[in-house]
Symmetry: none
Subunit: 410 residues, 2 copies
């Protein structure tokens, strides 16, 4: 099956945004065994957009569009598809109903223009978009497929995962593709790739590494006639990967680092409290995202900087002698107290420890659990958001490792 | 002048790399006043690459290629240009000399294949590449231009800056594109577009709306012979937009919502404290991102859920009578106390107020400032992350509006 991607939006042609959707879709198509030959960026212009779509249909079996499904006059993807296929747009009562419900639920009047998001053509089926107002389109005509998804990455990826990918898997045939993702923390991507180099060359299953915010993902993907056959291709390779990276693998597939940490806290019957100076709430925001976090995650105290620590009656100066590592430890212990928790985690950065002679980008993470108090120092000579991001990953790594050892011990 | 970009490389079509070069070139072309209508990604395939180039020459005055200039068999950009223009490749003695010098300087033998990087066609002039081995090509033929640059961003940007941009400025004639972005909060994209409908039709400057995480952006873009001329085109339109959306515009261009809020807090000499139940640290993380947040942002208390409120000695039950709005207000007041701050902001969601008969996705934001205590209710019937995201925007909107009124008042 030959596919091409058309990314729609004048902001792409003005360089105001980078097209990350196409790279994401390209990886996904490769995994489905669908050949991607062309990616085109085109502006919000009906003629050029129609030109791109009809060329796409002339040389590919599948045309995937991203963007141009919004409610404004610039959003022309629906019109262009209708024009190229020579079909009439009509307002679908069910979609209109959903649109009105969406606004009503917010106690708002639906802006008239949003009616365009309830439009279909006879050969299009709507693709639900639970995280936005624009439904996607799934079009089948004359043995060709046209898929239209919103350009907002959050909406596109969800629609791809839940609506488009399953349908494509069905039509793409060529057996099924199964993949297994092992998630690694505490090693860089190149280190992971080094370690599993011999496996990365294999054809079926393929093995690839991806650097993600929650560590390095190792994806093993097999193509086979049946799920069982695919699994039997994957299993031995997964075993090899685990033999090499074992202790650094925190989870697989949909497991998240935060999810694993919360589960371990529950298994231990422990609650976690935070004091965040450097990370300013990033740890708390991640830990509180799962609806069931409460009970394992107690809460966190965010302090904008050292002067707030002093205001709290806690003077970093008193730790000048002991050094910044001990400051992080003391804050971790304080976090336990504050929240009556068994586990305390704390972060401070150069804004607090700078006058200890620490370089810019220095950060300390402190962890306090029953019978263990440990801190880690990292130096990230980069922008503040990057320092904070690395500190979050380091904190979770430290916590994850400590909980694992605790569970193994007892 | 009409331009298009062709990014060459199978790795793009496998999603192994994201094409950031095109966004960079797009911004640069806009600044030169050159219209970019198409961006195409094509793999390392001579037929498809040639097809893309000849189509480019048929519809554009300038075709810019990135990638495919390396020494390997996959690097086909030179061959494709030669084929499309019907010219013969030859080895340029001077370029060969430079190639050999490059390797000699490193005490290495030049790999034979690197000779291909010394190749030219009669209508091509070489573009020096001091940071790599592949020279670029500047081709002028029949009034059209073809520019080929290496795909490595470091090499491409340098070649663009020093070699291509100056030449293009000469041929493209003066003319620049200037844009101004006004940022709106508290209205949906379609509502904003409705309001400024008459302006959205205009050609120069153009007016377009974009939905962003921090509200709706209205971008006014003008094309003119000089920055002054462009500004004089933008100003009257900006004035009209401000006349229509004025009170909902929080900033322009690089200003951020958090930045504006922190600045206003400083102007008032106020500090902000948070209690986050629903948003679990998202507000704190955003407010603490700027390095200079401290002083205006004091800190925040994150509580995983209602049971943690109780543990804090604060029982939501006591507010059953008063209703969830008053609970949010009480928490905002508590936030002020906790951090000895002038401004308190708090969020609770259905996990706390659900048993008040509030529907799933219900959220309350409370704000407490000297002389004003106000709450806002919202219902977001979507996933928890989406409810949290909307609650953050609502909280910032409420706070921003209150601070603005305070500044206007006094």
């Amino acid at each position: 099956m030959k596919a091409e991607i058309i990314a729609v939006g004048t902001e792409l042609l003005l360089g105001q945004i980078v097209d990350t959707n196409s790279a994401y879709l390209a990886r996904e198509l490769a995994e489905l065994g669908i050949d991607l030959y062309w990616v085109t960026h085109v502006g919000d212009n009906l003629d050029r957009l129609s030109e791109a779509i009809s060329r796409g249909l002339s040389r590919s079996d599948l045309v995937i569009l991203s963007g141009g499904l919004g409610p404004t006059e610039d959003d022309l993807t629906r019109d262009a598809i209708a024009r190229v296929l020579g079909e009439e747009l009509y307002i679908d009562p069910e979609l209109e109903e959903r649109q009105r419900a969406f606004w009503a639920a917010r106690g708002l009047e639906m802006p008239p223009r949003n009616l365009t998001q309830a439009m279909l053509i006879p050969s299009a089926r709507p693709l639900p978009n639970p995280v936005g107002t624009a439904p996607g389109w799934w079009v089948e005509k004359d043995g060709k497929f046209v898929v239209a998804m919103p350009g907002v990455p959050r909406e596109l990826t969800r629609m791809w995962e839940h609506e488009v990918k399953p349908r494509l898997r069905a039509v793409a045939g060529a057996g099924i593709i199964l993949s297994r993702t092992l998630k690694v923390i505490g090693r860089g991507e190149s280190a992971v790739e080094e370690a599993i180099r011999p496996l990365v060359g294999s054809r079926n299953p393929t093995v690839a590494t991806y650097a993600k915010p929650d560590g390095i993902h190792v994806r093993i993907t097999a193509k086979a006639g049946s799920p069982e056959a695919a699994r039997s291709l994957i299993e031995p390779v997964e075993a090899q990967v685990r033999a090499i990276l074992g202790p650094d693998i925190y989870g697989a597939d949909d497991e998240t680092l935060v999810g694993v940490i919360l589960r371990r806290l529950r298994e231990l019957g422990w609650r976690l409290g935070l004091i965040e100076v450097l990370t300013g709430g990033l740890l708390a925001a991640a830990l509180s995202e799962p609806a069931d976090a409460e009970g394992a995650f107690a809460g966190g105290l965010v302090l904008a900087g050292p002067s707030e620590l002093v205001r709290l009656g806690f003077d970093p100066e008193t730790y000048r002698g002991a050094g910044p590592g001990n400051l992080a430890l003391k804050l971790a212990a304080l976090a336990r107290q504050e929240f009556g928790a068994e586990v305390g985690l704390a972060t401070v950065g150069d804004e607090t420890v700078g006058d200890w002679g620490e370089p810019p980008g220095a950060a300390f993470v402190g962890l306090d659990v029953p019978g263990e108090a440990v801190y880690q120092r990292l130096v990230v000579p980069m922008s503040r958001p990057e320092v904070r991001r690395r500190a979050v990953l380091t904190a979770f790594h430290l916590l994850w490792r400590s909980l694992r050892e605790r569970l193994q011990a007892g």
